[in-house]
Symmetry: C2
DNA sequence: TGGTATTAACTAACCAGTCAGTCAAAATTC
DNA sequence: GAATTTTGACTGACTGGTTAGTTAATACCA
């Protein structure tokens, strides 16, 4: 079972990571953020690495949940996906993007991190490709290579993410440009209303 | 003047950063990489931060040089730009992308870093927008919003960069997808030959 | 009372940065 | 032009502070 304290420690890790970055992410800071001592953290997580792995699990799980959409219409699903990716996260889960970026930058040196990001990436590309494939089959989208367009969408969202974090830029304009581009690829304006 | 030793230290910083990441970038490691003591580095750079600023200067300067292209034909210039961005850097300047990514991830906590990346980004967007504007004026490209397309190009290259570093992915496919997309936007296939 | 959770106090390694002193080459003086 | 002083570049040893992780004692709760 996942104890309440473990969850609190993981959330404290998130706060500490967002406030000071991975390079300054110390057990002491996490402990302070969780209002306990470092020894208490070591009681729940043997090593810092174990804690970080658990934290990344949580982060990716939350990310996947945010992408979930049970609409049936491909156009609605694509809209929901784009909104989920480009809409700034609610204040409750603040620093979410920053935390992901910090961990991404560690991927070259941390095999486990990289593998998880690879899995997440594959999943995201598949989700988008499936949506597009369905849309083509249903006659809503023009004939194109779903994998190619999916790669474009994920790469643009990766880029928007990096820009948001590193430059402090809003992703609105990028969202619009991507919608315009998808219009060219799919022959349908993602931003437009879908008549039920 | 820029002494030979300063340059060697900066290059050692690059190697140390690429090998172990920003979080493990210590003066000792840089010193070992430069085959000298930490005190020698402190003789040339008062603080670690001063060294890191000098290193980022170097990094951005090199990046800008790589983008330089003196062709006159807009299509050639766009081709050269895309090649420069997507072609994997020569083995000599290895780890270049990784170093940039590491420093980008520090931008949220390091105002100077962020400002420099903002300047670099603005420059890159302007370069692309200028190329497209020229191309439209010369009748080679269809009428579109140059800033919008420039934003798309830079965001895709940002995304491709992040993916290369974090996922270890080759940027080839992304390059192709972007070319295809630019074909839709500009009505001209960037990869195709230009008849002189 | 017995297991769970937490703490204070600790260790050994590591961090950026300092300091006194070395050494060769250049500048200055006679 | 030879002797002296100064300078630039550097080293090894050190400092105070921080790191992840350990341990033994203790609080809490069923």
């Amino acid at each position: 079972m996942e104890s309440e304290t473990r969850r609190e420690i993981i959330e404290a890790t998130n706060r500490a990571l967002c406030e000071h970055g991975y390079a300054s992410l110390t057990m002491k800071r996490i402990a302070a953020e969780a209002s306990m001592t470092t020894a208490a953290i070591h009681y729940h997580f043997d090593t810092k690495e174990e804690l970080l792995n658990a934290f990344l699990d949580e982060l990716i799980e939350r990310f996947e949940q945010e992408l979930a959409c049970n609409a049936s219409d491909p156009r609605e699903r694509l809209n929901a996906y784009l909104d989920a990716v480009f809409t700034p996260p609610d204040p409750a889960s603040d620093g979410f993007s920053v935390a992901i970026m910090e961990l991404k930058a560690q991927a070259p040196y941390h095999d486990l991190f990289r593998e998880r990001f690879l899995d997440l990436d594959e999943l995201m590309r598949e989700v988008v490709a499936d949506i597009i494939e369905d849309g083509i089959q249903a006659g809503h989208f023009e004939e194109t290579d779903p994998d190619e367009v999916a790669r474009l969408v994920t790469t643009v969202s990766n880029g928007a993410h990096a820009r948001t974090v590193a430059l402090g830029e809003q992703a609105d304009e990028t969202h619009q440009v991507l919608e315009h581009t998808l219009e060219l690829h799919l022959g349908w304006k993602p931003g437009s209303e879908v008549i039920a």
